[in-house]
């Protein structure tokens, strides 16, 4: 008598614990790949809840969401369904740092995701609380609920968010909670520790919400969203209409002095919040402490949905006492009369130190146990969803007896994310940035589908009908590039006038369009106007934009590809599983310990471990070669 798909004696292939952004991607991926899957969540009313920003995407994060979409995950599609405003960021900077950011209607986001879960075959959902994992002979065998019920499983994915040992901190108040109003998971972290997993502690803060009727919008900058809003997913239908505006204001000296006056009450100062906080999403208290010469900090005022009066104050994360939060808000231009609807607060929680994971997100210690999301020390819905997708895919592949699906750093931001977590560990909540990706010129928002959809198709997650759309895009791009290379642009007076206006040298003789497009100032529409024809049939604006990027950055892209090739040898040299580093001579003790702990899969991964020097990698490489030669003899 256990919880199983039926009484026929089969057990669930995959059990996912947690219905947040990681959990939903895991459950959908596993089910879509044919596994009988169970999603267990504390509350069926809180599926895909966004506890913080009402937004998906941004620098680095938007790239993750695109990649999730390319592989066959859901976040991109769901974001489009719930989108109320869309912006393409960094349009004035290079294509490597361009990303989409969508404001979403939170309730609609939750409802849409739940709808998808309910409509997915092979997927069951259950409301309940996991008290522990069941392990036998270093392999996961299931999950136990608070009420004593057992759910046997072939694989388990833990995606518990901030609930493990969660404590809320506001001013001097500190009490157990997973989120405001929700009890934490107290038994599960104990179970994980007992199974030999090492836990750390982090903290994260969320922003206050105010009543939209009480802001002075006239004193703020209005941001209506892009005039021609894009979509996150390649596969979304329709155009976004009736965008909801956001507002921007800035703190000023008065705001800062209010904060400084009350800093002694901040739990960060008093030390009553333990656990490292996120450097890249610091609370306003921390910003004022750490950047005393900044005379203003931006505060983005973001609607939480179309039909709600709640506005999110991005940039004012805090765990200062509530009455101080109100003083700070009222000292911010445009928010003098703002009425608080939800106070900001900090939450401390346990996470599993991620260097205990393989690149597949399986724990090294317990076979078939996968971890995804904030439990691995990351922050952000996109980072969580990316891990959830990979964990779901790999749980499914484990059930199917297939090798894990691992993306390299040169293939995807998802690869960078997981490699960073697993190889380097985290000392504060990890947030994705474009600067983390050394190959970011290749890993772009615009070419995510070209890179990853073939892989999504191969593993059986991306449906053929969607893959066909991607293939069509690639053909259209190829056609357009060919056309640009073989089409000559003549040096007409109009063209030269346009070039001169743009500060570019005039043409003296005819030139291939592709060649002319290499100039940074020239854009494809300039050329089309000059030639007087439109581009070959099926090239929409996205394809045209991509062709420009490919041509303009060809040199840089080639160089980056060459660098990848040069490192290929390192990346491809596999280290046999179970290789022991303890007897490795010529390698420092520290490096040996780190190597032993991380168990890198390749020389490349080994080279990224902190404490491992290039000399250590050379020694390791020699050992591997000797061992390989010895075995060959």
């Amino acid at each position: 008598m256990t919880i199983a798909p039926s009484t026929d004696g089969d057990i669930f292939d995959v059990v996912v614990v947690g219905g947040g952004h990681a959990g939903c991607e895991s459950a959908l991926a596993a089910a879509r790949m044919g596994c009988s899957t169970l999603l267990l969540t504390l509350s069926l009313e809180k599926i895909a809840l966004m506890p913080c920003n009402p937004a998906v995407g941004g620098i680095g994060k938007g790239q993750l969401t695109r990649e999730i979409d390319a592989l066959g995950g859901e976040q991109g599609l769901n974001t489009d369904r719930a989108c109320i405003q869309m912006k393409l960021l960094n349009t004035s900077r290079g294509p490597a740092v361009r990303a989409l950011r969508a404001q979403t209607d939170k309730k609609l986001y939750e409802d849409s995701m739940k709808r998808v879960l309910c409509a997915t075959e092979n997927l069951r959902i259950l409301e309940g609380s996991a008290a522990g994992i069941i392990v036998s002979r270093e392999t996961i065998t299931g999950v136990e609920l608070d009420d004593g019920s057992r759910i046997p499983a072939k694989t388990v994915i833990l995606a518990c968010g901030t609930f493990l040992g969660g404590k809320i901190v506001v001013g001097e108040r500190r009490f157990p909670a997973g989120r405001m109003g929700e009890p934490p998971a107290t038994a599960l972290p104990v179970s994980l520790a007992e199974s030999g997993l090492e836990l750390g502690r982090f903290q994260s803060a969320t922003h206050p919400r105010i009543d939209s009727r009480t802001i002075d919008a006239d004193r703020m900058v209005i941001d209506p969203g892009d005039e021609h809003p894009s979509r996150f997913s390649r596969f979304s239908q329709g155009v976004l209409r009736n965008q909801v505006p956001c507002f921007l204001t800035y703190t000023n000296e008065r705001t800062h002095s209010v904060i400084r006056e009350h800093l002694h009450l901040s739990p960060i100062k008093t030390g009553s919040v333990s656990g490292k906080g996120p450097r890249y999403c610091p609370s306003i208290d921390r910003k004022v402490m750490n950047f005393p010469d900044r005379d203003r900090h931006p505060v983005f005022v973001e609607p939480e949905g179309r039909h709600t009066g709640e506005l999110y104050l991005q940039g004012l994360t805090t765990s200062l006492p509530v009455w101080v939060q109100e003083l700070v808000i009222h000292a911010t231009p445009g928010l003098e009369k703002a009425k608080l609807m939800r106070p900001g607060y900090a939450v401390e929680y346990d996470y599993v130190i991620p260097d205990q994971l393989r690149l597949s997100l399986e724990t090294k210690r317990i076979a078939n146990l996968f971890l995804a999301g904030q439990i691995n020390g990351t922050s952000g819905y996109e980072e969580a969803a990316a891990q959830g997708l990979i964990a779901g895919i790999n749980a499914a592949r484990s059930v199917m007896g297939r090798e894990p699906f691992v993306l390299g750093r040169e293939q995807a931001y998802i690869g960078v994310l997981i490699d960073d977590l697993v190889t380097k560990g985290v000392d504060e909540p990890y947030r994705m940035f474009t600067s983390r990706a050394e190959h970011r010129l290749l890993l772009r928002h615009d070419n995510a589908h070209a890179r990853l959809s073939p892989l999504g198709r191969n593993i059986g997650l991306l449906p053929q009908s969607r893959y066909a759309m991607v293939q069509e895009d690639e053909r259209a791009l190829e056609d357009l590039l060919q056309w640009l290379k073989s089409t000559t642009v003549s040096p007409t007076p109009e063209l030269n006038k346009l070039l001169e206006k743009k500060g570019s040298a005039p043409l003296t003789e005819g030139q291939a369009a592709a060649q002319l497009l290499k100039r940074p100032e020239v854009c494809i529409n300039d050329i089309l106007k000059n030639i007087g024809v439109s581009a070959p049939g099926n090239a929409g604006p996205d394809i045209m934009a991509r062709s420009e990027i490919e041509l303009k950055y060809a040199g840089y892209i080639d160089r980056q590809r060459q660098a990848i090739e040069r490192n290929r040898r390192l990346e491809d040299t596999r280290i046999p599983p179970g290789f022991t580093y303890l007897d490795l001579e010529g390698v420092s003790r520290e490096a040996r310990d780190r190597l032993e702990r991380i168990q890198p899969a390749t020389l490349g991964q080994a080279s990224r471990i902190s404490g491992v020097t290039p000399a250590d990698v050379s020694v390791l490489s020699l050992y591997l070669k000797e061992r390989h030669d010895a075995m060959a003899d």
Binding site: M1, R124, D146, G148, S149, G181, T308, W323, K339
Partner: protein
């Protein structure tokens, strides 16, 4: 410790604690009567929420139908909300079923757009009186002042959730209880007693052709609350852990793959003992303090909403705001409900006589 003086504590005519159907109606009624009103709830996301039976009116014979009609003429918010797009549906037999999520969101939107009404997330932990006003404190050391207060705390007072043999503090599964406020009220001489309630399980929608015992669901009506894949398991309340419930369901339906999405569980919690409120829903121990909903023993969504509405109007009047009078016919269902609430010795109470359990 808070650093603010009494002068800087925001003062309202009426503060409503709780935003379920009782609290939401109270807040809207008080604000609509011209009182400067503040509605405090531990969770903005569960405003107007109803965790149990999505059937609000069982059929033509159900007195709740009449109650709903009376609520409409009194001016409650619920009747028009039930007519908004996609919120509820009625069948030929007069059965009214609501999409609980949409109804909750509709209440939330109504509260957020009402004049004179502030809405704020806070867990109220204390109630004191001072110079003729009420002073309410929260778990985050916030303070609020009111001329009159309505408390519609639902199933949350010193509540405990029972799932199988496991016990955990909570007003509903996954939600924390309210402990300190009720203690604060007990210290003021207000008497409580403990009652329990069980929720039915939610079941996975059967595939076409399948059915459940007691499933007289006509075509065209929405399934349970979320219009997704769940059915409310009428009459299937049971004890035992999730494993046991699933096993029993599969046995009784003969369907080896039958599935429970939300296992049945029980909540035990405090409600006001008998004779703690008068016909105006005002506390017999503390003037200008009103109670509504489950706390006064109501059994279902409509009763909670109706009592909430009246408590809100009465609170506005008690706070000195000129409230429109709401004449209640002695023979009306509402009147009958109020008499039950004020006079009946037993808890809970319901207009559904002879009623099954709530």
């Amino acid at each position: 410790m808070t650093g603010d003086s009494e002068n800087s504590i925001p003062c309202h005519d009426v503060v409503v604690v709780g935003a379920g159907p009782g609290g939401a109606e109270a807040a809207l009624a008080a604000a609509g009567a011209g009182a400067r009103t503040l509605c405090l709830t531990m969770s903005l996301d569960t405003a107007g929420y109803h965790p149990a039976n999505p059937t609000l009116v069982g059929g033509h014979e159900d007195p709740r139908g009449e109650l709903l009609a009376e609520m409409r003429s009194m001016g409650c918010r619920l009747p028009p909300l039930l007519e908004s797009d996609g919120v509820a549906a009625v069948n030929e037999q007069g059965r009214l079923v609501a999409d609980r999520r949409r109804l909750g969101l509709a209440y939330k939107a109504a509260i957020e757009s009402a004049d004179n009404l502030e809405f704020r997330q806070a867990l109220v932990t204390s109630l004191e009186t001072h110079s003729g006003k009420f002073l309410l404190g929260s778990s985050l050391d916030e303070s609020f002042s009111a001329g009159a207060v309505v408390i519609a705390g639902g199933t949350f007072f010193q509540a405990e959730v029972a799932e199988g043999d496991a016990r955990s503090p909570g007003g509903r599964r996954g939600e924390i209880p309210s402990v300190s406020l009720s203690k604060s009220l007990q210290n003021k001489g207000i008497l409580f007693e403990r009652i329990g309630a069980a929720t039915a399980p939610r079941l996975l929608m059967p595939p076409p052709g399948g059915s459940f015992p007691g499933d007289d669901w006509p075509d065209g009506l929405p399934p349970d609350g979320d219009q997704l894949c769940e059915l409310y398991g009428f009459g299937l309340e049971q004890s035992g852990d999730a494993e046991r419930q699933l096993s029993r369901l599969r046995q009784s339906t003969g369907d080896p793959a039958a599935w429970i999405t939300r296992p049945s569980y029980a909540v035990s919690h405090l409600v006001l003992a008998s004779r703690q409120v008068n016909l105006r829903l005002e506390s017999t121990a503390l003037p200008r303090l009103f109670f509504a909903g489950r706390l006064v023993g109501c059994c279902n969504y409509l009763e909670s909403a109706a009592t909430g509405f009246l408590a809100g109007l009465n609170a506005a009047h008690a706070a000195g705001t000129a409230a429109p009078t709401c004449l209640i016919d002695d023979k009306s269902i509402v009147s009958h409900l109020l008499r039950l609430v004020a006079d009946s010795e037993s808890r809970p109470v319901t207009i559904r006589v002879p009623g099954p359990g709530c």
